[in-house]
């Protein structure tokens, strides 16, 4: 597929070893965003992170992305400590974060342009394929503001997939979308993930979304963010609308709700 070395078979894709993150704000006060967070993600596993606002979910993602250095412990990708942004990681943000002056296709190839100063013909072709894959084949030459919110977020996903990253980090990617588009995008993401397996870390506020997508769910507690529980979803794949009505779906959903909303959890 690529010339990149295939990662060692047994090594976890992502490993957090007692990671802590303390932010010091400009007035000197210290906020503990994460405390003693440990978990591992197997290669090509889909893991959702769920927890109340301000539990450090985004910080967790930023640490894996190499954008934030943890103040305690260590984060590893394929056994190597994360010291900065890595090639094999793609990020999808909460907002589509497209550049309004670029056409849709140029937005998808923007990472290459931005990093290397040029875009190869092969990359352009790949951008077109990705556009087809996310159902926007006819929109390559439109500007982002001519697209709906859901379409823009698809472009954001296609952009993250351009260099075929082995690890996909998604920070509440569908939270700005309406409920119907959200469901549609979830199934779309599952289809893409089945076609091209990847290790996905998916941050969300939505329990049904996490259940529909993930193999395992990391439930976090409020500030300081700690791992409260890691749940094996165990729902059969491929998942569909029927999955939503399975008894197990509701059992786990209720269980997570009880975890997240248990007394003191929202403090």
């Amino acid at each position: 597929m690529t010339t990149r070395m295939e990662p060692g078979g047994e090594r976890p894709a992502i490993r957090f070893d007692r990671v802590g993150q303390v932010f010091t704000s400009s007035d000197g006060s210290r906020v503990t965003a994460l405390e003693d967070v440990s978990f591992t993600l197997r290669r090509h596993e889909f893991v959702a992170v769920i927890g109340p606002s301000g539990c450090g979910k985004s910080t967790l993602l930023r640490i894996i992305a190499g954008l934030v250095r943890p103040t305690d412990g260590q984060a590893e990708i394929y056994g190597l400590p994360v010291t900065g942004p890595r090639e094999e990681v793609g990020i999808v943000f909460q907002q589509p974060t497209l550049l309004p002056w670029l056409k849709v296709r140029d937005n998808i190839t923007f990472p290459m342009k931005h990093k290397h100063g040029r875009v190869t013909a092969a990359e352009k072709e790949r951008a077109d394929q990705l556009l087809e894959m996310v159902g926007l084949g006819d929109f390559a030459h439109k500007r982002p503001d001519e697209l709906s919110g859901g379409m823009q977020q698809r472009v954001g996903i296609a952009r993250a997939l351009l260099h075929d990253p082995d690890i996909l980090l998604m920070d509440e990617p569908f939270s700005a979308l309406d409920a119907l588009t959200r469901d549609e995008m979830s199934f779309e993401l599952l289809r893409i993930w089945t076609e091209r397996p990847k290790t996905v870390l998916f941050i969300t506020h939505s329990i049904p979304e996490a259940l529909l997508l993930a193999d395992r769910i990391l439930v976090m507690s409020a500030r300081p963010g700690r791992v409260r529980e890691i749940i094996d979803v165990g729902l059969a794949r491929p998942r569909s609308m029927q999955t939503l009505s399975e008894p197990r779906f509701h059992d786990i959903a209720n269980h997570i709700r009880a975890q997240v909303f248990r007394p003191g959890a929202l403090a």
Partner: protein
């Protein structure tokens, strides 16, 4: 119960106008700004004549037009070019210094902490009061006038560009960092384009300030230029002539303002608000 009331307005809606009326209305609507301006001129003319206002206090529009024609074209061109030349040089200097300075300020906490207060001090200094000093220091020629124009125009450019650069969505900069791109590339590919709408709103304001700057400078020391011409005309009580020069100045300002807007429309159409596209 509600159905009769909801259908009532529809049945009482005015019948469509005949084509002829609608076209007349459209023409009136389009011409409204021009008609209003003409009406104002007419009121001005009539008021001056009826109240017998002496022309050295407030000349009538017709007297201004007459005096404009009496000044040789050659003389108009010389003065206009002198003012335009100084304005554009000062403006260009403000853009060339202001935008890179803004990039530096937006990206360095140290620079913004040390330089910004000084910029505010410069902006708070009444440039008109400093102008005579600048003339003494820089002597004859365009130099002092260009510097005065620069000092008046560059602050809005710096402030607005900094605001624009800082308005870049943080996630966009995180994307850049996650790609491992250099700071310089982040500025060029992301921050500056995001600042374009802000930069152009500053460029529009500053281009009219540039004319003001040149005129102020010409009041202090000049041998030609429209500012000099106004000062010269009024000292001889040729008030209609001064008004004529004022009309030229306003036209110049408007033309430059439109030119900047047009440039934005042609080069950066995506940066315009949706309603203006």
């Amino acid at each position: 119960m509600t159905s009769p009331t909801t259908s009532a307005p529809r049945s009482s809606a005015p019948a469509p106008w005949p084509e002829r009326h609608r076209r007349l209305y459209g023409a009136l609507d389009r011409g409204a700004p021009l008609l209003a301006a003409l009406a104002l001129l007419l009121i001005w003319e009539l008021a001056c004549r009826l109240l017998a206002v002496p022309s050295y206090l407030l000349p009538t529009p017709s007297a201004i037009a007459l005096s404009a024609v009496q000044v040789p074209l050659d003389s108009w061109l010389t003065h206009t070019w002198a003012t335009l030349r100084v304005s554009l040089q000062g403006y260009a200097l403000a853009v060339l210094i202001g935008i890179p300075l803004a990039v530096a300020l937006a990206n360095s906490r140290l620079l913004s902490r040390t330089l910004y207060p000084q910029l505010v001090i410069i902006q708070s200094t009444p440039i008109v009061a400093v102008a005579p000093i600048i003339v003494v220091v820089l002597g004859a020629g365009d130099a002092p006038r260009v510097v005065i124009t620069f000092l008046i125009t560059f602050f809005p450019i710096v402030v607005s560009t900094v605001t624009g650069l800082q308005a870049t969505p943080p996630a966009m900069l995180e994307l850049s960092r996650s790609l491992g791109a250099s700071r310089l590339r982040a500025v060029r590919d992301i921050q500056l384009p995001f600042a374009v709408p802000y930069i152009f709103s500053a460029l529009r304001i500053s281009v009219t300030l540039a004319i003001i700057g040149a005129v102020v400078a010409e009041f202090v020391a000049a041998e030609n230029g429209l500012g000099f011409f106004i000062a010269f005309s009024t000292s001889f009580f040729k008030v209609p002539q001064a008004f004529a020069a004022l009309v030229v100045l306003v036209s110049l300002s408007l033309a430059l303002f439109q030119l900047v807007s047009l440039t934005q429309r042609l080069v950066f159409p995506w940066s315009l608000p949706k309603t203006e596209k």
